[in-house]
């Protein structure tokens, strides 16, 4: 019974944070008209969310591509010619692996960092100080982070896609006895621009989820260092769960209905 109660409580908590996120999102949205004044803050967040995440994305994607290459080669072995290796890697990476894995690692890195930063600001009354100065934290803190993530996640995904395919390409060449030309021809065989576009649309939504969950958990932080720690955990857990759920919904929508 205790287990069910816990699961139920987690579900209620999840609904709670999604509800709060809706309000935070709305307040950030209505502050968009002051975007020109906040451009510097947006660029700063793009730098922090995007540029500073590059090393992590690089390592994750290169090895993901390499592993995907080995896996696909193993699966194809008895059924299809290796000419399809490039096709499969390309499709896996741009539709699924690139956007989702990038979002999950960025969710961990950036989501936790946003929640901890805003949470610390909350518990040390810095957010109160901002409101007392008539500066809306949703405009000054939340909106730049949401825009920063929304813009940079697709950019990071393009980089991750390229690196992952590169990783797959190198492994195919070096270890799997598939020449570069065969790999690239395979990629071209069933190339469909909608695959790439769909992946990028997903990346935008994931970026929104990461920043929004980080900001919501951070703004709701209470009770000193413990509260800040909890906020960071909530942000990461909520982003990861929502990324995976929305991935299913978006994949069904984009590839099952729109591009089908």
């Amino acid at each position: 019974m205790d287990l069910f109660a816990r699961i139920g409580q987690s579900a209620i908590n999840m609904f709670g944070i999604v509800g709060s996120a809706g309000i935070v999102f709305w307040r950030a949205l209505i502050s968009l008209h002051r975007l020109p004044r906040s451009m510097k803050l947006v660029v700063e967040q793009m730098q922090r969310i995007g540029v500073e995440s590059l090393p992590l994305v690089l390592v994750t994607s290169v090895f993901t591509g390499a592993v995907a290459s080995v896996q696909v080669s193993y699966q194809l072995n008895e059924y299809l010619p290796k000419a399809y290796l490039g096709t499969a890697i390309f499709k896996f990476v741009v539709i699924e692996l690139g956007p989702v894995l990038t979002a999950l690692v960025i969710g961990g890195r950036v989501g936790a960092s946003i929640a901890a930063e805003l949470g610390t600001m909350r518990v040390t009354e810095q957010i109160d100080a901002m409101e007392a100065m008539a500066i809306d934290p949703h405009r000054y803190l939340v909106m730049p982070r949401i825009l920063g993530a929304l813009i940079m996640l697709p950019v990071l995904t393009v980089i991750a896609d390229t690196l992952a395919i590169g990783g797959g390409f190198v492994v195919s060449n070096v270890a799997l006895d598939v020449s570069g030309k065969v790999f690239v021809d395979g990629m071209r065989t069933l190339f469909y621009a909608g695959d790439v576009l769909g992946g990028l649309i997903k990346a935008c939504v994931f970026g929104l989820i990461i920043a929004l969950m980080g900001c919501t958990a951070g703004l709701a932080a209470r009770g000193g260092a413990v509260g800040v720690g909890r906020a960071a955990t909530r942000a990461v857990v909520a982003s990861c769960v929502l990324i995976l759920i929305s991935d299913y919904v978006l994949t069904t929508l984009i590839y099952g209905i729109i591009f089908s």
Binding site: E125, D128, A129, A132, M133, A134, I135, D136, Y140
Partner: protein, 260 residues
């Protein structure tokens, strides 16, 4: 009492769960006056201050600013009203991602669009007022607790507000620094002719800074009047508080300036 009523707090009630913090607080703040809200720790002084600037919403009651209830104002009106206030928070609440200068200049940048030399001049002027000239490039983490409170004061007075709210300005400081902060508050009031509310549990500060004193005990106002009246009243709750104040400070400090 004479002069215009700037802030009129009427029958304010606030509870956090079962903790009834404010139980029907009413008081008026006259233009040019310095009101000290005195009370032991946890009696609801800071909560009262946060209601006055609209950071907390009461369960019941109203706060009239220039005759308008701030809890009936929309976000834009509340923002405009808050620009008439400056607030010094208990823990200084400086933005630790910014330098001292950026902290002080933020209200001017956000509300007046101030930039460049004009902004630098403003920051230096305010730093000079609090005796910290030349420190604008330091970060809050690089300065002492007393200096942080001074920077917080410089930030609060950046736009020459009509009303300055101080939340426990001397808490956590050594007696010498506390004395300096008390003098600084009095000098600031003289220079800017601002109206002030100072929340403190320090009787000595209250007598040194205040024109009028309100004593809060158990969420209610036990006494309101001039500092002279405070020391002469026969009210038992006030006598008890004064006795505790004397006991806390020790016999030698009781001979200090301001105590009658």
């Amino acid at each position: 009492m004479s002069g215009r009523v700037l802030i009129d707090v009427r029958d304010l009630w606030k509870s956090f769960g079962d903790n009834h913090v404010l139980r029907g607080i009413s008081l008026e703040l006259i233009e040019g006056d310095t009101l000290v809200v005195l009370g032991s720790s946890g009696c609801g002084k800071s909560v009262l201050l946060k209601h006055i600037i609209g950071l907390l919403v009461p369960d019941r009651g109203e706060v009239l600013f220039h005759g308008r209830n701030i809890f009936d104002m929309n976000a834009r009106e509340l923002g405009e009203a808050r620009q008439h206030f400056g607030m010094v928070f208990q823990g200084a609440a400086l933005f630790d991602s910014m330098t001292v200068g950026e902290n002080i200049g933020l209200p001017a940048v956000e509300h007046k669009g101030m930039r460049g030399q004009e902004l630098e001049a403003l920051v230096e002027e305010k730093l000079r007022l609090v005796g910290l000239e030349g420190l604008s490039r330091l970060r809050p983490a690089e300065i002492s607790g007393g200096m942080k409170k001074r920077v917080a004061l410089a930030r609060a007075i950046a736009l020459n507000p009509d009303i300055i709210l101080y939340d426990e300005p001397t808490t956590g400081l050594d007696p010498i620094m506390a004395e300096q902060i008390n003098k600084l508050i009095r000098d600031t009031q003289n220079k800017l002719s601002a109206t002030s509310i100072v929340v403190t549990h320090d009787l000595h500060s209250a007598c040194f800074i205040g024109d009028r004193v309100a004593l809060i005990e158990n969420g209610k106002i036990e006494f309101i009047g001039s500092t002279d009246e405070l020391m002469e009243t026969e009210d038992e709750a006030v006598q008890n508080f004064i006795a505790r104040g004397h006991a806390n400070r020790g016999p030698r400090e009781n001979d200090g300036a301001g105590l009658h």
